[in-house]
Every structure is written in structure tokens, then in C-alpha cells.
Symmetry: C2
Subunit: 681 residues, 2 copies
């Protein structure tokens, strides 16, 4: 999937290690059958079958099993695709309770006796869509649906087609006929499609003696709003449509308010997420079409307020980690390794899925060990050869020395390790990681906190704090809750609300900046910023949100990046963060115990007259409506607390409002009950 990026028609795979599957695996399970039954066996790959340790002749596709205890082992070999198995019987059927191993170690001695101490590591088999003989996992493709173009117009020697908004899929040429080349230039903008020399994505389609006009759909999906087609020779076609390629995700999260611009922002953010949530959460649809840990970390968070599609989260986390040995940071980026740890903490918080933690824990440990082994003699991590210290796309941002931001993320990652060690019942690990986290946190303050500047310094070079202060460590320290009140106030005044500190221009870091401000109670300010920044893109005609946005730029300047005229991705998942901010800080819903066993709702209208929405949980959606004098809430899960401010004592039909202090009130929410609160904001 990461091999589908092209640039100017050139195959453009990632630059990091690409792992492949285990080519030879053994699936097994024991059953206690109430009666004899016949099973059918379908595998993707060459296979053999053992029943109760005895290998059957040939490659059986039907096997009769006797009543009682039956152990089934099927060994599958497949070099080109992932070995997969589907067994269908009355009782016996493949599910996620089968064991799987890539090393069964079942040796025998010279008498034929099998080893009694094989020491094989078994894990639970991955279960997916292989439950019909014909549904071969290797043949999986995302579904498509046809979409028509909005308009087509002649331009020079060719035709410019506009699909009305940025989209993704396979182009269809209707009634294609003739001989020659059809030059196809894709554009996320009109300018890009028409810039035949510099558009990022092209197809040079050779048409060979098409005598009968026929509809032809291209092989590789592409990102575009505009397509410019220039035929050569006798090539002709009638019109152009597309096959929209998408991952079906349930429509769960929702937001609507009295502010139409904000609604539009939410809708465009949702569509941006729809386009970038695919086989995995990818960064952007035009570029890179790769799985980046830092980008995915934000996609997961948005997903918890939109589709709550845990399968996509899990498979992206797994794909990012890859296989042992661990020889590089995830995507080669140090910060991206840390986001990977953080993403697991978040996943557990939103879903409560301990089983996934148990499965991934060994690979968390080895990745953390990789990190700890790369610390220098001061116990800090700096970029070694082959480590990309990314942080953000920002002009002149120093990556030299030991950057405070990286230590901060490592510290949080260690805390995540401690939490997960506890979850999987490893108290020794738990103590170890707690201790490492504490030591590092102490260093973080000792080495980087600057009492004059009331902020963390950006970095440390040759054992000395540098003069530079940037937003990154400071804003993350806010929502990591690492600062006391005084320090928080310092960071807010001297960094976050200080225009002298280098501004952030990527939606990527805007996400964290605005989150930090929300945590500091600056939600009115953030609402305004959100409308300015994302509203700013909408005013420029954005139909999906961008990789980077600098309001100071003009016209087609906006599309340039990486030294290329149209290098910028105009549909980038990290652009969709209003979904997260609106869900978490305005609708105000977030879990306070894993998987929404407990949660709080702290609605905040800011400049809005009213808002309503749905926030997905593992057991359905929390629905709420909030206006200046009424709140309606219903939750399918857990125990919640509605926290509200009211100038008068709120009145409720269900439940009991508790006065906290001043204008602060609290209402305990039980699942399944529709609450209605009359109050005065």
C-alpha cells in the first residue's frame, strides 16, 4: 500500500525499511467436538494438515473429524502474500482464538518421538475477512463508487475537468478511441493540473489501436480535484468520470452549531479524514500516501471523535512498528517513535482494549530499549546518524544538540510504558519505567527550565542550555500536565501568547498549540483562531485541509512546498484537527477512565449560540445539545459527569445537580437516561 505513491509518473516508495510477512506459519487450535463433523479447508498458500499430530495425505480440502478432542494444525507457506487460512465446519471454524507461530519447532528424535519442550511462542492469529472461500485476503481492495465531474472545459490542446472538490480514485475515460498517447495531469488545484511541466501527479497513457470506443479505467488511484487531459495522435474520448475509492467507516461523530463557518470547517475536516482514512491512516492523498507515525497519531485522535474505527487504529499502529530487529526510529524520526508510544496510551484511554496492549507490549518494550540504548552519557537523546529530528516544518528550526522536545516526549513515552506494564501485569517493568520517567523528568527541569524566561529552552548544546525558546516543549508540557500553576502561567504569557516566539504555520503543530490553549482555559481565543486559520483556508477555496497554511502568502504561492511549485499536499490528515478540538473542548466530551467507563462533559459555547453533536464511544454515541440555557445529554455507556457553569441554579428532570463553588455545577450521568438541564450561561 505504501508503494502506490508516484511523482511525475515515477514509482516512489518510502525510504525506511519495509518489512514483509512471515512466509511460513502454522495455525492451530484444539476443539472438543460434541459430534463428528466434516470441515472444509481453504488456504492462501501451499499447506499441510495435521489432525492430533498426524499429518494427512496431500493437500486435503475436506477432513472428517471424530467426536471429542481434536487438535488441528495447518501449516501455510506463501511467499508473495500473507499466508491465510479459512476453515469451515459446524463447530470448527477459524477465528481470532486460533494460535499462530512462524516457528513451530516440532522436531522428532530418531525413534519418531516428538520433542516435549518445543519452547515455541504462539500468538493469537489475526482475524480478518477470510470467511468465504472466494474472499481471498490477498485480493482485498477498497470499494469504489462512480462519481461524475462537475464541469469540463477546453483548454489549449486539451480538456480541463473539475470534480468540484479534492477527491481520490481511479479516472475513467469514456468511449476512448484511437492510437497515441493521452497525457493526464492531475491537480489538487486548477493551477497544478494546468502546469503540465510541474504538476506532481501524471499519467502518460499509451492508447494502442482502440478501434471500438470503450470505457477505460486507470489502474492506480490518484488524488485530484482537477484533471487536465491532452491527447496526442488520434486519441479521443467522450467524457471523464471517476471511481471514488474509500474505506467504509460508520458515520458516528457529528457536530453542528449556530455558526455556519464553523460547521463548514467541521464538514471539510470530516471529508479530509474520510480521504486519509484508508487501508491505514495516511498523511495525505497526493503525497506521501505513506503511513507516518506523527501524522497518524493525530488521525487516531480525530477518529475518536468521528468514526471511532479501532480496526484502522490498530492496524496502523502495527504497521508502523513493523518487525524486529529494531534498527531505526519509526519512519526514521525520533519524535515519531515517541508519538507511537503515546498513541497506544490514547488508544487504551478511548477504547479500554487491554487485549491489544497485551499483544503489542513486547514490541513496545523492545522499541523503548532501542531508545534508552541511544541516550548519551547525560541520559538524553540527541539525533545520532540516521535519526531524523523532525519536530515541525518551521524555517530555521534547530535540530542540533539535545532538543528539549524530544526528552519531553521520551518522558511521556516512559510513563506510557509504566502504565502498560501495569496493565499487562509486569510490576518489575512498571517500577523500572516509572523510575526512568521520574529521573528524566527531573533532568528536563534541571537542564531546560529557565526561570528568567519562565519557559523550557529549546535545546542544550555542549552541556549548555541554548537561548532559544520555541513553542513545542512548552505547549506539550501543558497538556502532559508537567507544570505547576505558576509555570503554566509563565508559559502562557511568555510563550503561547507571545508573538515574538516563532509562529507555527502547520496545522500539525497548530493542533497541539490550540489544545494547550484550551487546557489553559483560552477557549474563546482558540475558537477565534480556529475560525481564522481553518476559515482562512476555506476562504481560499479549500475543499480539504492543507499540509501547511501561511495566511501571508498569495495565490498559487500557497501550493508550493519543498522547493516545488505544487509540492504541498492540499488534503493532509493533520489539517482536520477541528474535529478533535470541537469534540474534546467545545462539546467537551472525554473519557476519564479507560474506554469511557467514566467520562466528563464540559460543554463550552464560546461565541456560539448553540451546538449539538455526537461523540462515539465503544458502545454507541454520546449525544448532546447545548445552548445558552439548555443542555440535553444521553449516553450509552459508563458514568459521566456533566460540568457546567451557570448564573442560576440549574434545573433538571432527571438526576441531581450538585453545586461545586461559585457558578460551577456538576451532574452525574448514568447510561441510557436522557438528561435535560435548564441553566443560564
Amino acid at each position: 500500500m505504501q508503494n502506490r505513491r508516484t511523482e511525475r509518473g515515477t514509482f516512489f516508495p518510502p525510504f525506511w525499511k519495509m518489512d514483509s510477512h512471515y512466509v511460513l506459519v502454522e495455525f492451530s487450535k484444539e476443539f472438543d467436538l460434541p459430534a463428528a463433523e466434516e470441515i472444509r479447508i481453504y488456504a492462501e498458500g501451499k499447506y499441510n494438515v495435521k489432525i492430533n499430530g498426524k499429518m494427512l495425505h496431500g493437500t486435503p480440502d475436506k477432513v472428517k473429524l471424530q467426536k471429542g478432542k481434536q487438535k488441528i494444525n495447518v501449516k501455510v507457506y506463501n511467499q508473495g502474500n500473507v499466508p491465510a487460512l479459512y476453515v469451515a465446519g459446524n463447530t470448527v471454524t477459524t477465528d481470532s482464538d486460533w494460535n499462530v507461530t512462524y516457528e513451530d519447532k516440532e522436531w522428532i528424535d530418531e525413534t519418531g518421538k516428538a520433542s516435549d519442550q518445543s519452547g515455541t511462542t504462539y500468538v493469537k492469529a489475526g482475524k480478518w475477512n477470510f470467511d468465504e472461500p472466494t474472499v481471498r485476503p490477498s485480493a482485498f481492495k477498497l470499494p469504489v463508487k462512480p462519481k461524475q465531474a462537475l464541469s469540463q472545459e477546453k483548454q489549449g490542446k486539451g480538456l480541463l475537468v473539475d470534480f468540484g472538490k479534492n477527491t481520490f480514485g481511479f479516472l475513467t475515460l469514456h468511449k476512448l478511441v484511437g492510437t497515441g498517447r493521452l497525457n493526464i495531469y492531475y491537480g489538487e488545484s486548477r493551477e497544478e493540473a494546468l502546469s503540465t511541466k510541474t504538476s506532481e501527479t501524471i499519467d502518460l497513457l499509451e492508447v494502442h489501436k482502440n478501434q471500438q470506443p470503450q470505457d477505460s479505467t486507470l489502474d492506480l488511484s490518484k488524488a485530484f480535484r482537477f484533471v487536465y487531459l491532452e491527447p496526442e495522435g488520434t486519441v479521443k474520448f467522450d467524457q471523464v468520470s471517476m471511481q471514488y475509492e474509500y474505506l467504509p467507516v460508520a458515520d458516528r461523530g457529528f457536530f453542528r452549531s449556530s455558526d455556519n463557518e464553523l460547521n463548514k470547517i467541521w464538514d471539510v475536516a470530516k471529508y479530509t479524514m474520510e480521504l486519509t482514512t484508508r487501508e491505514f491512516f495516511i498523511d495525505g492523498i497526493k503525497r506521501d500516501r505513506w503511513i507516518w507515525s506523527g501524522d497518524a497519531y493525530q488521525s487516531y485522535a480525530m477518529n475518536y471523535y468521528l468514526g471511532f474505527d479501532s480496526e484502522s487504529v490498530k492496524r496502523t499502529i502495527l504497521a508502523l512498528r513493523g518487525k524486529e530487529p529494531t534498527i531505526s526510529h519509526i519512519n526514521t524520526i525520533m519524535d515519531y517513535t515517541f508519538y507511537w508510544f503515546l498513541s497506544i496510551a490514547d488508544y487504551y484511554r478511548y477504547t479500554g482494549d487491554k487485549e491489544f496492549i497485551a499483544g503489542i507490549y513486547p514490541r513496545m518494550k523492545s522499541l523503548m530499549q532501542f531508545c534508552l540504548d541511544r541516550r548519551n552519557s547525560d541520559g538524553l537523546m540527541k539525533g545520532l546518524a540516521g535519526d531524523w529530528v523532525f519536530i515541525d516544518w518551521a524555517e530555521g528550526l534547530s535540530k542540533q544538540g539535545e532538543v528539549s522536545f524530544e526528552q519531553l516526549l521520551l518522558c511521556r513515552s516512559l510513563e506510557t510504558m509504566a502504565m502498560c506494564a501495569d496493565l499487562v501485569g509486569e510490576p518489575t517493568d512498571n517500577r523500572h519505567y516509572q523510575q526512568e520517567a521520574k529521573q528524566l523528568k527531573d533532568k528536563l527541569f534541571a537542564y531546560y527550565w529557565n526561570d528568567q524566561k519562565k519557559a523550557f529552552a529549546h535545546s542544550r548544546i555542549d552541556g549548555k542550555q541554548t537561548d532559544n525558546v520555541t513553542r513545542y516543549s512548552n505547549m506539550f508540557a501543558i497538556f502532559f500536565n508537567y507544570l505547576n500553576e505558576q509555570q503554566q502561567a509563565g508559559v502562557k504569557a511568555n510563550v503561547l501568547l507571545n508573538d515574538q516566539v516563532q509562529q507555527i504555520t502547520t496545522p500539525y503543530m497548530r493542533y497541539y498549540e490550540l489544545e494547550a490553549l484550551c487546557e489553559l482555559g483560552e477557549k474563546d481565543y482558540v475558537m477565534k483562531e480556529m475560525k481564522d486559520y481553518w476559515g482562512g483556508m476555506l476562504k481560499l477555496g479549500a475543499t480539504t485541509f492543507w499540509e501547511e497554511f501561511n495566511p501571508a502568502k498569495k495565490g498559487a504561492e500557497h501550493y508550493a512546498m519543498y522547493g516545488r511549485d505544487f509540492g504541498k499536499s492540499l488534503c493532509h490528515s493533520w489539517g482536520a484537527s477541528p474535529i478533535y478540538l470541537l469534540g474534546k473542548y467545545y462539546l467537551g466530551v472525554q473519557p476519564t477512565a479507560a474506554g469511557y467507563a467514566q467520562y466528563e462533559i464540559r460543554p463550552y459555547l464560546a461565541s456560539l449560540e448553540w451546538m449539538e453533536g455526537k461523540v462515539p464511544t465503544p458502545l454507541g454515541e454520546i449525544e448532546l445539545y447545548v445552548s445558552k440555557n439548555k443542555i440535553k445529554i444521553k449516553s450509552p455507556i459508563g458514568t459521566g459527569k456533566l460540568k457546567l457553569q451557570s448564573k442560576t441554579v440549574p434545573r433538571v428532570k432527571q438526576g441531581q445537580v450538585k453545586h461545586i463553588s461559585g457558578n460551577d455545577y456538576e451532574l452525574v450521568l448514568e447510561k441510557g437516561i436522557a438528561y435535560e438541564v435548564d441553566y443560564k450561561n
Copy 2:
């Protein structure tokens, strides 16, 4: 290749981890071109091309390069087969001097500037047969040549075909016609082919409406001397032949003597090696058709006295090691891990190939670390869960506790590490391994040497030496040169020549036993044993040498093993050791400095009147003829020493004979000179 074993028609792959290739790799090289040239590019896989860091459009198969410095990078992706590249130009061509990596880490920053500290590890690309566009490495198959059957006779409802000797290849059915099933039973013995219920290898061929008689060759090569074919339905065929499948290896080593039985032994051993030297050195042709480190270790040694096919040695060593992470012993067997180290020491000794050592050294280090990490608190290795302690196929042989044999092999492996560390210029590693080896050797004597028994004890359980004495550690200690003269004499009398100590019945361990006896000067005894043991198999009609031979058994009992009537492999590489023994201890040729820079020749006729032979070296064959009064020698390489015993002063036409003491004389041999020595034995 290891997936071609079948048992009763069932796919039977190995039980250890099967590694796959890196699916995405980048090849690169810099050239300084004297003139502009056009290159042609052929790849197995999807690829892109960069010239001087600039990616070219599409998938170019021709590229024009300018005069001067040109850097070429080609990135190839191939999931199902190994990514491979062939570039053909005047100056520019793919060879083993290209760099390759699976992780190029060429990230760019937001301005498009490439990283200046990628930290990528490059290794030299493997070079093989891809030097014509059409010779695709993935399509590689061993060559075949047709062979006729010796006889065919009717048997019951079918036909029994005899190919005269054990062989390997694809069966061809001539003028096959009709509809129904053709049951094919292969046998390394006549009994096996006719035992349709228990023969190990079968093909149940479905013949569908063959109306025109046609020749049909089966898909999968098999091992057999006899084939029994039982047609069902209307299936008929005319006769049966085969396509003999083989690795072309130069015919280099040679042995002939006055003893025809010994000559036959050498010929059959040679044929056994021919059959088991294939894509890799495998154990046996019927079973397992897998690559086993302990078996291969012996094949390498025989190969140095036969084909001297270093490519086969290298690719087998590489295949056995596999990829990181190291999670199990090689083939899951502890001793087989150690033989892997020893095989590298031997390879260097015979070939002097430092380049291979440099390439494999990192994987030697990590495998050794895996071993050292598995030692217990006494610093000894015992079988942990998942470790197979094999030693030998021998009834009742204990694998419990800390077996002395495993410590002995580990000690020798550590010495090999020290030697290789020195070769690759790692003095710190060298000291480390030397120290570890010394400590372990001290323990070996402290824990296992028994002064009463004048031998190493077999094992140690719960911190105590066991009573058991076996041949394994004791005989290896001889040719590892770990014993002083007194200890050697003790081992010889109390173990090697003591019938009370459990006898060895596998040619596998016979190899080492006889080698130890040769080292102790018992070459007359060994000659007799060799003729008895291997001659014993010949008397039973062996056409290739067996996995195991117990002279006490009768008739078809010989074919049984692993609790199965025909479980035994009758063509097993470890059966071919007379090649090694005759070359090293009777022709008496062995290198004394790496790659035959120095060597010695110590001919020993034993019961022979005369013998002659060729021993291959990196630069051709050392040829010699030895009778009781004449020795003729010519060597293409290095400086040798002919060591001989003579009752009279030897006379030479070339060179100068030096008297050592008593009957011992020495003649220095320079390359290219034909020496002739008249002496009296």
C-alpha cells in the same frame, strides 16, 4: 527450496523460522565516465532511477549518462521474489561493487534539501547470474539431463522401474494416455517402492482425458532408485525415464588406489556428494531436502577435497544464518549453531577469503551474543525450552543438564570469533572472545575432566559431574588439540578404543571418530574401519551412502528409522566422509595457512600399494602419486611441506630433502614444480 520436501504426497516444510528477502532495496554506485554513454536497465520488480540524486520520469529502461561523475541509484520493490537489478552499459554495469541497502533514509526537509546525516548502512550487493535481460534470477532452476531406466518389470497391477542407482530428478512418463489416476511410489530401495502403504515419497497423478499419447514430466523432483507405477482407469504409458537434476560442479578432487573396494567407496561417496550438493548443501535427497548446519558442516569439509565449490559453501552458510532477530539456534539445534561458527573457520582456512568473513562478521557477533546470553549462572549452556540438544542419533543418549560436548563446541566457536575479530580488525572483540574462550576452557577441564576415567564426562546435572562417558567431547577434544599427550593417550585407550563406551552408528559421528583416530596416528586402524563400515554398506548394495548404518541389522531393517519402515535416507551427505578422510589423512593434504598459502602433505598408504589423487585449492589442484617407493607431487599454489617417512634417505630430482629425525624427512614444495621422490616405506 526448503519447501520441496514431501512425505506421502504432503507438503512438508521445515519447522524453523523461514526468513524472506528484503522487499524494497536500493542499489547504487558512483562512476567517473570517460565519455557519455547509454545504459540499459532491467530489474526484477518495480523500480525507479535516480541519476545524481534526481529522480527520472517513469520507469526508464534506457538512460543517457553524461561524461564525468555520475551517481546511479535504482530502487527495486519485489514482494514475491528477491529484488534484482541488471544494468548494461559501456562502463556502467552491475557487479559486486555496487552498494545495496534496505533503508536508504534519504529524507528531505521542507525546503527540499536532502538529509546530510542519513546513517544508512550499505553493504556490497550480491552478484549472481543476472547479466542478460532474459536470465531472471527468480526463474533459476538447476539444469537437467535425461536418464534412461535400467530395467522395468511387471509387478502385480503395476510396473517396477529400476534406474540402477539412487538418483534425483523428475520422472518422465512416455506416451501417457487415458483417464484415471496413476499411483507412483518412489523407493530408494526396491522394498520401499513396492510398499505402497509405507513408501515415503509418492505421487498420485490425475490423468484427465489424455487422448493423444504424450510425454509427461512431473513437476517436483524426487529421490529414488526404484519407481513402482500402478495405473487406475484407462491410464497407460509406454516407458519411464527421468530428467536428472543436478548442480554443475567442476570435477576437481580425485582419488584412486590399489584397493578397488576403497576406490568404490570413494566413487560412491563422490556420487553421494553430487546428489546432495544442490542449490545448497542439503542433508539427504529423499529426506529432509533441508539445509541442516551440522550436516552442511561436513559437506563443506568434503567439498574442500572434491569440488572446492566456494559459492555453494557461502550461500549455505548465509542461508543457515538467516536474518535478525536471532531468536533460536540454527535449525533450532544448539550444536548446529556452533558448527556454523566452525564452518566459517574452516572456510577461511581452506579458501583464505577474508571478504566473506568481513561480510558475515556482524551476524557472527550477534549469534554469539545470543549464545552467551543463554548461559546459566555457572557460565554453561544447557538446553532451554526450544533448544534441541542433538549431538547424534544414538539410543538413550542423555541431553539433560549441561552436556560437555556443547561447552566444548562453544569454546571452539569463541576461538573462531577471536580469530575472525582479528581478521576484520576488531582488537577489542578479539580480546573479549579470547578471554571468554579461555575461561570456558578452564571450566571445561574443571567441571568435566575425570582423572580416574581419563576422559571428559558426558554431562553435569545439578552442579555434579555425571558418571556417563561418551565419545563425543573426547574425540572432538583431540582434533581441537585441547589435550596434552597424557590426556590424549587416556582418551584413546579409555574411550576411542574402548568397546564398553557406547558405539557410534551414524556416519555423521563416525566422521569425527575416525578423524580423531587419524589425528592419534591410528590410520591403519581407520583404513580398516573405513573399509568395514562403508564397505559394509556397499556389500548391501548401497549406491549412495546412508544416514545411519548398523551392521547388526538384517535386510529391510536397514531402511527403517524414526519408527517408519522406510524413514531412513539412503543418500545422506554425511555418509560421504571417506572423501574427506582420504584427502586429508591418506593423500594427507591440508592447508597450514589460510587458502593454501602454506600447506603440508603427509601421505599415508596404510594397507594400500599405491594411491594417486588430486586435491583442489583456490588456484588449481595439488596432484600426487604415492607408492611404497615413489612420491610424485605438483602444486599450483603456495609453499608446501612434504612430510614423509622413509627407511632410506629419499632421493629427489628437484628440491632438497631435509632429515628431521629417525625415519622422518621433509621436502619443501614450491608451486609449479614437479617433484619426484624415491624413498622406501
